[in-house]
């Protein structure tokens, strides 16, 4: 009898294993971060409300890309929805991993996403950028802002930093007075994505760009690029030792612990800085748009967007969930869970903006509208890696800023086949 029971249990377990996550109506791949946590909570609400079973698979940032790419390349259909960082969109879309949403909108009697979404948030969800069909919907409205300790900046003679020169002036004073334990500026200098993400806004604010307008030429090694590098190197000199290995956590910790006065950062860190259990700087950090160089400052947009995997077997269910999760009502709930919104009505909702924890919303909305996407190229991960190596070498001082620009230009030309 016991034998038979074990056999039945084993057969049931095998069936479940073979069918994978088949017990769910659809499966969503999300990062193991506040963005993924937010969507997980939304999925729980959806399950309770609709009686639909939603399976959430969480993975570290880089693994989300890898698992999504693998599922796409093998057409496994294991994930129905992927929550993507926006620079991944060209890779997923141009390799046929993402579903065009046009037909689903037509089926629902809609033209496309409504006008309450910020225009920049919608532009990144079209492939090609801002002109092609929608391949995803924006969910988390990340765009970089400039974070600074206003009191410290005032002490250093700068009221509100408007330009990178202002930032440098204050940072040089603060670092000099800090005695090796306090610094005016801190940034992500870690090789690869971190250093590129914190350099691009400076790059753009000096009028530089990675490609020319019609994407026929790589334009890293230019006078504008050199001006941006000069500022970047000056900022390195006022940053903590070891900046070459800093990632988001180190930068966030330095600011929250009151060990550094300013940085470029992402809005999801606001919750940490305003949480007394995690921060010594509650209420002391000010938020502003990215400072200007020789041109107006521009944030790097870093939205998290939801797309339907082409191999999904539950596309309609996935689309219905995406439309529900990105509705104004749900985006507002998502905002209260710590994820920046993508809709104007939520950014300006008095119920939110009257609260201290959302005081950065006007600045963030302005930052998103003035943001620039990372160069939209299906080989972006490889380009970012190559550019990140040269920037890392410059930050570490093993090559000069000029050499870094030259090498980066050559590397990106080789990867893209452009001259």
């Amino acid at each position: 009898m016991v034998h038979k029971l074990f056999l039945v249990l084993a057969a049931a377990a095998s069936a479940l294993a073979i069918n994978g996550v088949a017990w769910a109506d659809f499966t969503v791949l999300v990062p193991s971060s506040s963005e993924g946590d937010g969507l997980r909570a939304a999925a729980d609400d959806y399950s309770k409300m609709k009686g639909t079973k939603v399976e959430i698979v969480q993975a570290p940032y880089a693994n989300v890309f890898e698992q999504g790419a693998n599922a796409g390349a093998t057409k496994s259909g294991v994930f129905d929805i992927i929550l993507m960082d926006d620079p991944w969109i060209p890779f997923f879309a141009e390799n046929g991993h993402l579903e065009d949403l046009t037909a689903f909108y037509k089926g629902a009697g809609m033209e496309g996403p409504d006008n309450d979404f910020l225009s920049k948030s919608l532009a990144i969800c079209r492939n090609p950028y801002n002109t092609g069909p929608y391949v995803c919907l924006p969910y988390v409205g990340n765009a970089q802002m400039f974070f600074y300790d206003a009191a410290k900046y005032k002490e250093a003679g700068v009221d509100a930093p408007k330009t990178w020169d202002d930032v440098l002036k204050a940072s040089q004073t603060l670092t000099k007075d800090g005695g090796g334990r306090y610094f005016g500026y801190v940034f992500r200098g870690g090789q690869g994505n971190p250093v590129v993400a914190d350099f691009m806004p400076i790059f753009w604010s000096y009028g530089a760009n990675m490609f020319n307008e019609d994407r026929t030429k790589v334009t890293i090694d230019t006078p504008e690029g050199a001006a941006a590098m000069k500022t970047f190197m000056a900022l390195r000199d006022v940053s903590p030792k070891g900046i070459e290995s800093y990632n988001a956590n180190e930068v966030g910790t330095a600011l929250a612990a009151g060990a550094a006065a300013s940085s470029i950062n992402w809005p999801n860190w606001v919750a940490t800085f305003e949480d007394p259990s995690q921060s010594k700087m509650v209420g002391k950090i000010s938020y502003s748009p990215i400072p200007a160089g020789t041109k107006p400052g521009s944030s790097e947009i870093g939205h998290w967007t939801m797309g339907i995997m082409s191999a999904s077997k539950n596309k309609q269910e996935a689309f219905d969930f995406m439309v529900w999760a990105t509705s104004a009502e749900q985006i507002k709930i998502s905002a209260t869970r710590g994820n920046p919104p993508v809709r104007a009505s939520v950014f300006t909702d008095p119920e939110l903006t009257s609260q201290e924890q959302f005081r950065h919303y006007p600045v963030l909305m302005e930052a998103i509208q003035a943001s620039t996407p990372r160069p939209r190229h299906p080989k972006w991960p490889e380009i970012e890696n190559a550019f990140g190596i040269e920037l890392s070498k410059a930050v570490a001082g093993t090559i000069t800023a000029e050499e870094a620009l030259k090498s980066a230009q050559a590397a990106v030309e080789q990867i893209t086949g452009l001259k």
Binding site: A62, A69, G190, Q191, G192, E244, P381, K393, V395
Partner: protein, 307 residues
């Protein structure tokens, strides 16, 4: 079924019949079959598949067919500077880390050989690092090395020494990774050496002592030659493991700063998963496999273990 056929079948199924005789004749193959099948499935097939992938350009787009490129992916190894950097870093890491671990492990074993048998607690403590998952080790060392709040810089600060960016400095990053690896794997060498020392015969030492041989002479002429097989195994296992280093680098430095800690495993991972180029990743993997096989064979021959 006709009667004659029935009788033949019955005769074959009888003890000593045709089926039994066939089974007896092929018993050795039948017994080997499961092992061979497992070996084929787990080792031979993936190896051939990797080679098959290495001679193709594989698009991340599943609708595009694999394009046969012959030896192109292998030829790329010659001009790929990132691969050269990773190869050099892997070599430096392997040589320095394994040599240090060996010298420390052997030294500790010689030092504690007489006492350790009574100090079971110490032996257990020494085993802890190698029992920890590499990810846990990497995270622990990341916290130790943290330049602003890490314990190492706190000690430096209290001693009035200049603070260091242990994992972030181009000149210290590889050293920091080697220290973490040495911390984790020296106990492995130590335990193997200890086991080797425990199995040494007593008589040759008694004879050497009677002949007036010094401790150094005894170590050089007796201990080392006796330990040779154990040393060979220990070094071989550590070299093979060091060539596959991934976790420590991935967590501590991500291959930076300035590519100073990019090792082959990390580069293979990046090429396969970040740059979506599994064909080239397979070619690099085959190169690493080839190097490992050549090194192991040469090493075993040198240590006269091959026979």
């Amino acid at each position: 079924m006709p009667k004659a056929e029935k009788e033949t079948l019955a005769a074959q199924l009888q003890p000593g019949g045709g089926v039994e005789r066939w089974a007896e004749r092929h018993l050795r193959f039948l017994m080997l079959a499961p092992t061979v099948l497992i070996l084929l499935g787990l080792t031979i097939f993936p190896s051939f598949y990797m080679f098959y992938a290495a001679v193709h350009k594989i698009s991340p787009n599943p609708d595009l067919p694999w394009e046969f490129v012959g030896p192109d992916n292998f030829a790329r190894l010659l001009s790929d500077t990132q691969f050269h950097v990773a190869l050099w870093n892997t070599t430096v890491f392997t040589v320095v880390a394994v040599t240090t671990e060996f010298l420390l492990g052997l030294g500790l074993a010689l030092l504690l050989d007489k006492f350790i048998r009574r100090l079971t607690f110490l032996k257990t403590v020494l085993m802890i690092p190698m029992m920890l998952p590499p990810v846990a080790v990497a995270i622990t060392w990341k916290i130790i090395y943290e330049p602003q709040f890490g314990v190492l810089n706190e000690i430096m600060f209290r001693l009035g020494l200049p603070l260091q960016a242990w994992a972030g400095d181009v000149n210290l990053a590889m050293f920091s990774i080697i220290v973490a690896d040495v911390w984790q794997w020296t106990p492995f060498i130590f335990l193997l050496m200890l086991a080797g020392l425990a199995s040494l015969p007593v008589e040759p030492y008694e004879a050497a002592a009677l002949d007036g041989a010094s401790s150094w002479r005894q170590f050089w002429d007796l201990t080392l030659p006796f330990l040779k097989p154990v040393i060979a195994i220990a070094l071989l296992l550590r070299v093979m493991d060091a060539l596959r280093l991934f976790d420590l680098v991935f967590i501590l430095t991500g291959g930076g700063p300035a590519d100073r800690t990019k090792v082959l495993s990390l580069y293979i991972y990046q090429v396969a998963y970040r740059f979506a180029d599994p064909g080239y990743a397979a070619a690099i993997s085959l190169f690493v496999l080839f190097v490992t096989i050549v090194l192991s064979t040469w090493f075993m021959k040198r240590m006269r273990l091959a026979e």
